[in-house]
């Protein structure tokens, strides 16, 4: 076993620049995927807060007269799922927006003359209907004068999209890492071809030749993802005084990213071996 590990680390040393490149690519992959996971995590957390106050916002069409607006309000109140409604005028909407961007007022300058924010009704659900917002949304859509509806489900869909993008980018970067590790192992087998020939001639088993190369891929993968996570943590730590505390990934996610790095290394190590190491 000691021999296999010494061969593994010797392989990593001998793989030179391409070996270093493999580790860097995996580290970058781990960093990008981790950032995307952090974004998805953050939105998830925000979504949970939104879900605790089940507010649905029904935006009204432009230019409705007072009677129509009131009529819409009555129709909303009459729906069985609705607990309360609050009318938000264009002016109120602008005030709310001003409060949200109180430290960047300049971006809202001039909006008094041309206020693009629509009027809306903020709707609170009855407790027994929490979780079945879709029924209310379809009822609201049937009321003439309502242009758009925003609710937590919309945000859920957004988070799901972010998760899909994370998965997609993760797969693409993962494949790139596999290819780079394949190259690294091929280069190693090329550099050590004489050694491998001699190993075969003196009766080394296929496993004895392959295991150090497989371990090389796994070690490079684990090393790369570990370095990537450490770098990201370091960057967030350095940015904290400027941007405030940013939540890092939970331990289970960190473990998953590092293990995924090892898995990528294993696949990258295993793929070229069948072709390059023959009996």
């Amino acid at each position: 076993m000691a021999y296999i590990w010494s061969e593994t680390f010797s392989n990593i040393r001998h793989s030179g620049l391409i070996g270093i490149l493999s580790v860097i690519v995996i580290a970058l992959t781990a960093m990008v995927v981790s950032v995307l996971l952090m974004v998805a995590n953050y939105i998830h957390a925000e979504l949970n807060i939104v879900k605790q106050s089940p507010l649905i916002v029904a935006f009204l069409q432009e230019g409705l007269d007072d009677d129509t607006r009131q009529d819409i309000g009555e129709k909303i109140k009459a729906l069985p799922q609705v607990y309360s409604t609050l009318y938000v005028s264009k002016k109120d909407a602008l005030e709310k927006t001003r409060e949200m961007f109180s430290d960047q007022e300049e971006i809202l300058e001039g909006l008094e003359d041309f206020n693009p924010l629509p009027e809306s009704y903020e709707i609170e659900l009855k407790a027994e209907y929490i979780g079945s917002e879709r029924i209310l949304v379809s009822n609201l859509k049937a009321i003439p004068g309502i242009e758009d509806i925003q609710y937590a489900q919309e945000t859920s869909r957004f988070v799901r999209n972010i998760e899909l993008v994370t998965l997609f980018i993760g797969i693409i970067l993962g494949l790139a890492s596999v290819v780079i590790i394949c190259f690294s192992i091929i280069v190693t087998t090329y550099i050590r071809r004489d050694e491998i020939v001699i190993m075969r001639l003196v009766g080394a088993t296929g496993l004895f030749i392959r295991i150090p190369l497989l371990l090389q891929g796994i070690v490079q993968g684990l090393l790369g993802s570990g370095i990537g996570m450490a770098c990201l943590y370091g960057i967030l730590y350095l940015l904290a005084p400027r941007f405030g505390h940013i939540n890092f990934l939970p331990p289970i996610y960190i473990a998953a990213v590092v293990i995924a790095g090892g898995l990528i290394g294993f696949i990258g190590g295993a793929l070229p071996l069948r072709r390059f190491i023959k009996a």
Partner: protein, 226 residues
Amino acid sequence: MENLQENPMIQMFGVSMQYKRDVEVLHNINMDVEKGEFVFLVGPSGAGKSTVLKLLYRGLVPSSGSIVVAGYNLSKIRNSKLPHFRRRLGVVFQDFKLLPHKTVEQNVAFSMRVTGARRSQIKKNVERCLNWTGLKHRKNALPEDISGGEQQRTSIARAIVNDPTLILADEPTGNLDPRLSLEIMHLFERLNTRGTTVLVATHDINLVEQMEKRVIRIEKGKILEE
């Protein structure tokens, strides 16, 4: 059955080898080498000597015919059994094939380490082989720091460290001067007197004549005479 445990160390029956469809390197080779024999396979460059040796350690598979070496039928041997078969052989090459970043001692030990032998056994065998080949004082040197003769003796020490029953040597003196060549041949002779079967492929007729051993001549892929 793969391990036939029959008498001759090497048996080749009607062996032909084609590298491409119409390039026949060996044609209908029949050859027996008994256990404990010392045999020269002699012929000019390109005659097919190296191909014969590659077939004997199963570096190549013949296009037709069958080969039995050390009791193993190489036509039927499974890949999983190849390492066990090869541990019974010692192979020596013209270019030594030493690992440049390993010392003489490490090169010799390498053959045993990859078979998973115990550390104490490796130490014992390596010391014995270095003594036997006269390399004890050079054990810590790298291949680039020793002479051609010493490099070839290192490669012989590596070939015999696992106590093989058969030594296959492919032009082992091709890179050496006549004095060193004779020295290497005497090393093989000493091995042979201990019971190891030796097959040496060479084109050096003078050397072969000095050794007075059995000679198999090969030319254009055919055995000519014995």
